[in-house]
Every structure is written in C-alpha cells, then in structure tokens.
Symmetry: C2
Subunit: 333 residues, 2 copies
C-alpha cells in the first residue's frame, strides 16, 4: 500500500485547509497520508474530524518555509521544516509521493537538491495543464527554468510526452513549440535551435511552431517553451480571463433587463467558469525529479488538496516516475 506525504505548513490556508483536504481524501483513497508539520497543531486540528485513523500518520517537523524566503537558503537552513522533512521521506522511499502548496521555488530547489534528478534530465520542469477549446494542453515549462537552453526544451518535450500519455491516455501526443510565427525560421535563438532539435528527436510527435494566438485552439497536446514564456502565458491567462469575466459581470449588473439576462445565463456562465476552475484540476508534478513531488497552488483550499491527493495516488498507481526514468534511460543506453 502506498504512502503520500503532505506538507501541512505550506500554502496560504495552511494548516487548516490542508488538513481538511487530507481528511476529505481519506474516504476516497487506498493510500496512507503522512501529515508533515507541527505534531501538536496537526493533532489538535484533526481532533475536530471523524475519519479512518488508519489512513493518517503524523511526522513531526517544527519549522516552516515562508513564501518570501530565498529558496536555496531556506532549503539549506531549515532542515526541520515540513517541506524538507517531506522531501527526505521521498528521497528515502519512506513515501511514494509528496504534496506541497508552499513556495514553488523552495519546493523545486528542495526536490532537485534532496530528491535529485532523473539521469538524462538536465532541468526538471513544472508543467500544468491549461484549458483549450478541445480540452487541455500541457504547458511545459512554466517557471522552473527561466533561462533555458535548446536541449532543455527537447527534454521537456520527452517528459511531457510520457506524462500526457499517462495522464490523458493519448498515444503519441502532439508536441508544439510556442513561437512568434508558424514558419520554421521564425523565433528567437532559443526557439530556432529548439525547432531543429525537436524535428530530429525520435519519440517526439513534433507538430511545429504554435503561435500564442492559436494556443486556445488546442492544436497540440503539449506546448513546449522556456519557463519565462510559460509563466507569462499561464499568469496572463489567469489575469486576463478574470478581467474579461469581471467586465461581463459588470454588464450583467447594469439594469433590470441585464439582471434578468444574468439569471438566464447563470448555467452558461458557470459552464465557462468551470473550464477555468483550477480547484478541480489539482496540482502539477515536477517532471524530471527522481521521485514524485507534486506542487499544488499556494491558494489551495481543502477541495484542491483533496483533488491533488487523488491525482497523486493516480501517478503512483501508474508508475509515472518509473516510466519517465525508462524513457530517459532508453536514450542514454
């Protein structure tokens, strides 16, 4: 039976919402959850709930890594933080996966330094799914590598391919390179060189360049880019979507007629909002780490923690990390 460590102290709503999410998940998982954090706090919060006690263990850790801290310093100095203790459990294979809603930078640094990389992967990547017209696309990388080299992008494509095959059960998923034009010769130095590598790489179903304008069409299953570009796309989508929906709300509230319109469109608007609802989608594993480390949003509440736990159990059952390793060992041998 598998075990999943949860960083109880990471995230905007820690520890209350994280613990609540764990309790919710106990009903629907086979795994045991290892709650990592201040033991007395965890015990006190848990006492408010009724749940299957065989599914929850506690691992004491009395330090907390805060959002503003320098990732490297925090990981090095706070040896007894919930995040570092959780990552060590992964490293020592005492758990099969670990979830945190804490600082992305610290978690990535910690995962790389403590758990280590898969052989053949130069840089781990953060890769969430973004909604598209036809479903969703994996956007890799979204911030782990802000100064990328062409070969990183090729590795992202390979990692993304394994992940999407597992997650979405899409055989031979299509990989697109985010670029400023569709023609081969378009782009900056990075994308021009990455285009060549991706074209020549075996085991990648390379579609070609995808202009940012066409991203919402869902032309490809995997969108490859450097972490700066991916982060800009991800965050702009969030901010711009919120603004547009906000403008529509203002118009709906204008007068009696538009308020009636709002009533008639209630279902429609929630259908659209649901498409962008991150809470149901859970977290994103750091691809390329030699162990399962899943980052979930800093603003996660219990529902998102619940989803991320179920998702993580799925990754464990599917042997995601082993499959990624196999893909890269193939290339090394």
């Amino acid at each position: 039976m598998s075990k999943i460590a949860i960083d109880i102290m990471g995230g905007d709503y820690a520890p209350d919402e994280i613990i609540k999410g764990c309790v919710l998940a106990t009903k629907d998982i086979d795994s045991t959850l290892v709650l990592v954090g201040k033991e007395e706090v965890i015990r006190e919060k848990l006492s408010a709930y009724t749940y299957d006690e065989s599914k929850i263990e506690i691992m004491h850790a009395d330090e907390v890594i805060e959002m503003g801290e320098s990732p490297v310093m925090a990981i090095r100095k706070k040896k007894n933080s919930s995040m570092v203790v959780g990552l060590k459990l992964v490293k020592e294979k005492q758990v099969d996966g670990m979830i945190s809603a804490g600082s992305t930078g610290a978690l990535l640094t910690g995962a790389t330094l403590i758990v280590g990389r898969i052989k053949g992967v130069e840089r781990p990547a953060m890769a969430p799914f973004i909604p598209t017209q036809t479903g969703c696309s994996l956007l890799i990388d979204c911030g782990a590598n802000v100064d990328a080299k062409p070969q990183y992008l090729e590795q992202f494509a390979r990692m993304g391919t394994v992940y999407v095959e597992e997650c979405l059960q899409i055989k031979n998923p299509k990989v697109g390179l985010v670029n400023i034009g569709t023609e081969e010769e378009k782009g900056n130095q990075l994308t021009k060189e990455a285009f060549k590598l991706l074209s020549e790489s075996e085991g990648i179903n390379f579609y070609g360049n995808v202009e940012a304008r066409d991203i919402p069409q869902g032309l490809v299953d995997i969108l490859v880019c450097d972490g700066f570009t991916g982060n800009v796309i991800l965050k702009f989508m969030e901010g711009f979507g919120k603004w547009l929906l906000g403008m529509i709300k203002v118009e709906f509230l204008k007068n009696i007629k538009t308020k009636i319109a709002a009533l008639f469109m209630k279902q429609g608007i929630s259908t659209i909002k649901e498409k962008f609802d991150v809470a149901k989608k859970g977290g994103a594993p750091f691809l390329g780490i030699n162990g399962l480390v899943v980052k979930t949003h800093g603003s996660s509440k219990s529902q998102e923690i619940y989803s991320t736990i179920l998702q993580t159990e799925g990754f464990i059952k599917e042997n995601l990390v082993e499959k990624l390793k196999a893909k890269f060992e193939e290339n090394i041998n």
Copy 2:
C-alpha cells in the same frame, strides 16, 4: 502642409480597402496622401469614388513585397516595390510619414536600412497599445527584437515615455518591466539586468516588475519587455479573448431563454468588444526610426486605414520623431 505616403499594395485587403480608407480620410485631414503602388490600378480604383483630388497624389511602384518573403531579401531586391518606394520618400523627406499594412518584418527591416535609426537607439521597437481596466498600456517591444539585451529594454522605456507623453498626454508615465514575479531578484538574466538599468535610468518613472497576471489591471502606462515576450502576450490576448467571447456566444445561443438574455445583453457585449476593437485604434509607429513609419494590421480594412491616417497626421503635428530624437540627443551630449 504635410504629406503622408501610403503603401497601397501591402495588407490582406490591398489594394481595394487601402484605397477606400484613403478616400475616407481625405475628408478629415489637412495632409496630402501619396498613394504608392501600381498607378493604373490606383487610378482605376480611385475612379469609383468622388473626393477632393487635391488631397491625393500617386507615386508609381510596380513591385509588391509578399507576406512570406524574407524581409532582408525582399527589401534588397525589390527596389521598385510600393514599400521600398514609400520608405525612400520618408528618407528623402518628400513625405512626413508613411503607412503600410504589409509584412511587419519587411517594413521594419526596410525602415532600419533605408530610413535609418535615431542616434543613440540601438534597436527600433514596435509598440502597440493594449487595452486594460483603466484604459490602455503601451507594450514595447512586440516583435522587432526577439533576442534583446538589457540596454535595449532601457531604450524602449525611454522611447515609450516620449511616445506616451505625446499620445496620451500623460506626464512622466509609469514604466513597468514584464516579469515572472514582483520582487527585484525575480526573473531571467535579461529582466534582472534590465531591472537594474531601469532603476538607475534618469528620466524614467520606473514602477518595478509587473507580473503577467497584473497586466490587465493597468498598473503602468508602459510595459517593457523583449519582442518575443511582447509578441506572445499580444497574440495570446487576441486568441484567448476571441475564444472566451466565442464561448459566451455559444452559451447565448443555447435555448430560448439564453437568446433573450443575449438580446438584453447586446449593448453590454458590444461595450466589451469595443474595448478590444483594433480597427478604431489604428497602427503603431516603429519607435527609434529616424522618420515616421507606421505599421497597421495586415488585416486592416478601410476603417482601420482611415484611423491610422488620422493618427499619423497627429504624430506629424506633434513632431513625434523630433521629440524622440531630442530625448536621445540629450543623453548623448
């Protein structure tokens, strides 16, 4: 009295819509328009309209630069193209400005090679306004410099400052650096170095980093970034906005009730759409060129050509290029 050259052969709807836009503009401008392109075609198309003939001149040019052509090759080989002939008119000061809806790459290359750069500007930039909650922000650069150096970004900030002061009559406009975090130490190598330069640069009202998520809030008047990032933001906004509004349309068409809602919300939706309507906004001058060269959308129809002509006349009256030159001469001396 000023003169404006128009590339009649550039753009998806050339020459018909370009000529129609020119005729429309004759009613509302003081300038004379110099229509550059195949004389017989221009004469034939013009014969369909009644207009003040003293306001239109024709300059024959029998070649056309197509969208797919290599910019450098096209500019070098097609000496008698409407674009090259128009740019030469600017260089020789026979006109006070030039407008084209043709290939952006070719127009930028041509402007740089034929008209030349302002002293002190290493790279000209393309800078359109993007809509925000509070009005609009200038996004500089949007594709002219896909591999930028930190000092280019500092120069973009200075050019943007002059342009926004002129265009929007905002004194001492706020400049933000597009980045993946708000803290000074966040970003890639380019933005980290640019942050320092922008902080130290005199005559720039530097706000700090702006995350892509916050761009729609309109926190700053000018958003500085490399051309790759700017192009991604601009095009993603276009594609994502279209998709979101398309989804809303689908929901409005679902049943009788939602169709009534659509009727009640007609005004509201068009208010929102207007915010994103490029046709009314006109084109964008290449900032840093030693003459006025204005690029308008490839998909421009007569209404956008009309707007761009009026806008260009405004730039001439405001002495935009002279003011930009003065700003950079100041720094050289």
